[in-house]
Symmetry: C2
Subunit: 430 residues, 2 copies
Amino acid sequence: MNPPLKLAIAGLGTVGAGVLQLLDRQAELLAERAGRRLVVVAVSARDRRRDRGADLSAVRWYEDAVAMAADPEVDVVVELIGGADGIARRVVDTAIAHGKHVVTANKALMAHEGMRLAARAEETGIILSFEASVAGGIPVIKGLREGLAGNRLQRVYGILNGTCNYILTTMRESAHEFAEVLAEAQKLGYAEADPSFDIDGIDAAHKLAILASVGFGRPIDLDGVYAEGIRHISRLDIDFAEELGYRIKLLGIARLTEEGLEQRVHPCMVPRGTPIAAVEGVYNAVVAEGDFVGRVVLQGRGAGAFPTASAIAADLVDIAAGRQVPPFGTHSNNLRPIPGVPIERHHGAYYIRLMVVDQPGVIADVAAALRDEHVSMESMIQRGRAPGEAVPVVLTTHVTVEAAMRRALKKIETLDSVLEPPRMIRIEDF
Amino acid sequence: MNPPLKLAIAGLGTVGAGVLQLLDRQAELLAERAGRRLVVVAVSARDRRRDRGADLSAVRWYEDAVAMAADPEVDVVVELIGGADGIARRVVDTAIAHGKHVVTANKALMAHEGMRLAARAEETGIILSFEASVAGGIPVIKGLREGLAGNRLQRVYGILNGTCNYILTTMRESAHEFAEVLAEAQKLGYAEADPSFDIDGIDAAHKLAILASVGFGRPIDLDGVYAEGIRHISRLDIDFAEELGYRIKLLGIARLTEEGLEQRVHPCMVPRGTPIAAVEGVYNAVVAEGDFVGRVVLQGRGAGAFPTASAIAADLVDIAAGRQVPPFGTHSNNLRPIPGVPIERHHGAYYIRLMVVDQPGVIADVAAALRDEHVSMESMIQRGRAPGEAVPVVLTTHVTVEAAMRRALKKIETLDSVLEPPRMIRIEDF
């Protein structure tokens, strides 16, 4: 058997502990699959005393993860610190500079610095792997980059944030409002104390930027990702979605149109019969539409120590076996920019919910505002009468351009009988 | 760029033509991803004149595919002839003997000869790839073998035959009986003139044997696969399934139990809320349950020229880029037999449908037969009264061992009031 592959792990939080346990429990299995043993020789973490569920007595401890990344004995640095700058970035830079392979779960770092890191990795000849950065244990990077290598994609999209999917699923099942469910998710550990990274769509935007680069063979363009979160979704919308035959999901969508590449993260109305609508709770799913393969759906646990550790182990086995793929599926020089399409030029159908005073003439005013912007209504629901009081009115539109939709909503918002800013949710066409 | 990878394609039927078209249309893309061009230098097929949608004027034609497999100019032989013996087998043997890589879509060959071929491939140092042999364009072999390399699986199962899934879906949607739907599927080209390979579960058994080997790291054991098809499924069963909250699917299931490895292909009652229940029509899906990753679902088109070509292209890109994985994920020497569990020792719940004379005492007799074999009833449905005439009675049982269930059914079949052989469908636990 070949000499062991020597690993250094930077960051021993929940995921780090999961990786240590996997490497310990599956040592024989991994050695057989990789053709050599995977051995942890160094770790770096703040707290030495915490129990990580694995024996670390024979392992070198570093206070300084950056120094560890330069350790001459180390073959691969596994970066599990997180964050787009600061230590994580310096650890990865140092590892590459010292000719070490890098495995990372860090989507923020990859979304911000992926192009620079890939170019440096290619120059140095090291492998840079990041399966764990998108959709946890689901092999989506490998699936797109290698499994669908014979395809040009038309669209890649998915449920990329388990926290949001858990909140939306629970809102529907429990009939509670967003704020209550968020508080409960925080208690259960499914949402962070500061949840904005998840619920404002930033985490999903990072992942989408990575997927779009791998899927479309273009450089990462994080700035080109439109991101809108789920704070404004209410129970009312979830109920109307059911009534209209939809589920509300926070999707990340990269889609090639005649104008260029759309990249957007926002809540979507998804037809209830589609595979993505059935993905509930903390599960993630990624759908790729290729010109030869058609629609492929990959689904599984999008977060958690063990699923993430599974993705990291897959990357490590590939490295140990000497299997090298350019980080984004093709050499960085081959990645070609595709012009981005700003959200204002998005063409799609829309769900609009208004809170209006129940009095004659309101719908006529709303309809006129839509007509003036050439937005064509597809359906209208006005449930329950309460003359003189606030009632919800729900509209769906035919396909229209977002800029027109926004102008119409601005006008509608100024109507006296419209009591709250209109809520708008995009309807995705599958 | 590296010198081109020279391909020979044996068999230019539907799939072969799809492969030629993919290689032609995606030539630039593949070259970038593989780091070299993929060039077809030789083909072998009976009919030279048929239009395959690609220019073959510069390609050497062989009458004899076996001779082509020995062509010194060829790097990779793509075997698309099919069948477990005869020419396909000789083509693959010849290619390996001459040190050429092999890509095949041939599940029958792999299920019957996979171990021998893998051992020979490893001796010779060539790559033997067969992504296209299971689940069409879905990267399931890569997904299990590489993407989930850090896991021990507890179960791998799936909808592996699109013809059966199409028939079962259409029976439910159209309210037609099996024979009518089969005839229609044959007209549409979704079923062969001789459909037994598909509808008797043989095709799915081949695929399951391959998946079980890759997933559990054990030698292929096709003889150990229990196979039962869908001929006996009637509209009545489909309606009762709906009523009980199930869908009927032909599944291939490999499951590790305390007794060993179960491998079975048969119609299943699948709870309607599970991902697999939502896979309809010609779609396939594979579900893997790993100890670290949890449940991963891979879904897509399981057949057809273009999805199959997509899988073949993925294998070719890996070969062109020099990425080698042992055919079954680990060196053949590391594959360890796991004792098989015969179907009689399967533990599960059962759906039983009887056609009985509607008269007092029938249920008591049936219940007594079950009690005598210690089979515990979970529910019973007797719809519609027609005193003295034939009515269906449906039972579901708690978990029991199949041998006891079979003995009870034998007894029930002999009851005077039971008019037809009982129908039994296994309920799968998810």
